[in-house]
Amino acid sequence: MAYPYRHEKETLVLSECFGDPSARTVAGWKRVGGYQGIARALEIGREATIEDVKASGLRGRGGAGFPTGLKWSFMPKNSSRPHYLLCNADESEPGTFKDREIMRWTPHQLIEGCLVGSYAIGASHCYIYLRGEFFETTQVMARALEEAYAEGLVGKDILGSGVDIDITLHVGAGAYICGEETGLMNSLEGRRGEPRIKPPFPAAVGAFGMPSTINNVETLCATAHIARHGGEWYRQWGTDKSPGTKLFCVSGHVNKPGNYEFPLGFPMMELIDDVCGGMRDGRALKAVIPGGSSVPIMSADDCRACSLCYEGVEAAGSMLGCASVIVMDETTDIVKQVRRMAHFYAHESCGQCTPCREGTTWATRILQRIEDGRGTEDDLDTLVQISEQMTGTTICVLSDSLAMPIISSIEKFREDYLALIRRGERVGAA
């Protein structure tokens, strides 16, 4: 059951217990097969667990889509230095609200995922980096972790295996950039959450200078299921390049927004029109941002034949990201929303790299001026050019993330901009 609505077409792997308060406990989680994944992993060993995850074809659910098994295999073997698993629970990409759902309904799902991941990469300590705003969710996680320690599922000699794995909850303090893996590491170490230059990569020099792997909440949860059922089992869903199921966070102008779980490759229009109960008030679809605010905007036309998998959304001119589908109807003021996104990236830029520090703010101010009816057509060229100057020139991709919606919106919704520039008319109300 997805939350807060369910649909018969859904495939429930991660979200089976959403909306079921009884699944929060160790007992509740075990009732649905919980902690069998880590038990089997401990039985088959590290290498075999990594092989299973490789075979599953699972790709990172945090947005970049990097194959998880491959990432795990980068960790040094036979190294005497401490290894760390970092769980990225700093969910803050606009449009994304799946990790909070996982953690508040099924905290043990994540704990199990962290155990599987830690075991596979040889980490004896896992830090779950939760975004600071998640007070309530964090407390659910905290109680679950205390329970897991008490039951001997976490800590010394887990499940009587002789393996020690500690898990620590670490709470952030409000910075989107700490969702970037190296920004998260700096933040965990008590520094400003500024992303680090790569190389060195985290598997060589990560948290506290030690080999580290960082995975998203949803990714680690998926590995708990893969560890339990094997890699091939996971491949029964999805496409060849995008195996498995995925939580789709649908927000915006649909009748039933929420999280829905489907095999990757699910058609976008079916998600909007059927699963989500169609557009609010029967209005027409104007645009969709398919992967959280950091990806190119799609026009209604782009959406028609789009299937929701990594390659499918790419073919439609955007990116799946973390599958956060923001649906906008005909009343949407695209210029205002792009300006709002620009404001967000300018606010969240760490400020290290010049193109991002200056570019995001400058773009925001130009967009604000256009929105205020004082723009010129030259401004659109300037916006596109500064967006290009912000693309591929910085340590992380925060400024690229703003460049994409700017460039795509000017390309696809130029008329909205021109209406404001030429006649001072806003297109749309919200």
């Binding site: 609505y5 939760l130 600071g132 709470v171 959450g193 102008h253 609010r280 967000f344």
Partner: protein, 216 residues
């Protein structure tokens, strides 16, 4: 759309087709009483609360807070890594991070005070100034925005009689604009101290404020 079920117990978010209470959604029964000493060391950094009553003069750290601080330190290989949790703890007690607080935390962890200032100002959740008993953070990012977040923000400002960031004259409310709170399916999401209030519309605002006043 009449066939769509919409329930929102206690502004804990739309429960849709689920028959759930506010406590079910928030998990408060499961969480139960939380320990000031932080409970198990693994979760000792998982508080803090944003408390209604703040004491800017509270010592850093004494009694159960000292215990919590020591547990936090035990979980990291470096003293520096305890900086964010220590600042969180200080804010829980004092309500904001003043220059004096930065200096004290720096001293506790053996860091330079300028360094602590650099870190504290990087993160938006550290209040650099005192805030009201209720800090109301209204998400106005895209998913909430297209569903009317600007009106919700305006309503909070109107009904508290404040400008953004300003504290109401009765000391109760400080209203600020927030970036995405990761509850995009439940617009508009408003964080008030430790809690998320979801599916808040502009019309709900007076009732939300009434509830806060009655709780305090």
């Amino acid at each position: 759309m009449s066939e769509i079920q919409f329930r929102n117990p206690g502004w804990a978010g739309n429960t849709g087709e689920f028959d759930l209470t506010e406590a079910d959604v928030r998990g408060t029964d499961y969480v139960g009483e939380t320990q000031l000493d932080g409970g198990h060391p693994s979760v000792s950094a998982s508080l803090p609360y944003m408390l209604v009553e703040k004491n800017p003069e509270a010592p850093l750290f004494e009694g159960p807070y000292q215990e919590r601080f020591e547990k936090i330190r035990s979980r990291y290989p470096t003293a520096r890594a305890a900086l964010l949790p220590a600042l969180n703890l200080a804010q829980e007690l004092r309500g904001h991070i003043s220059p004096a607080t930065m200096d004290e935390v720096a001293e506790l962890l053996g860091l330079s005070n300028a360094y602590v200032r650099g870190v504290a100002t990087f993160y938006t959740m550290y209040n650099k100034r005192p805030v009201g008993r209720f800090l109301i953070q209204v998400c106005t990012n895209i998913s909430c925005n297209i569903c009317g977040a600007d009106e919700v923000l305006a309503a909070f400002l109107e009904h508290t009689g404040t400008e953004p960031g300003e504290t109401s004259s009765d000391g109760n409310f400080t209203v600020v604009e927030a970036e995405c709170l990761a509850a995009c399916g439940f617009p508009t999401c408003v964080q008030i101290n430790s809690r998320y209030f979801e599916d808040v519309s502009a019309a709900d605002v007076p009732a939300v404020l009434e509830r806060l006043k009655s709780e305090s």
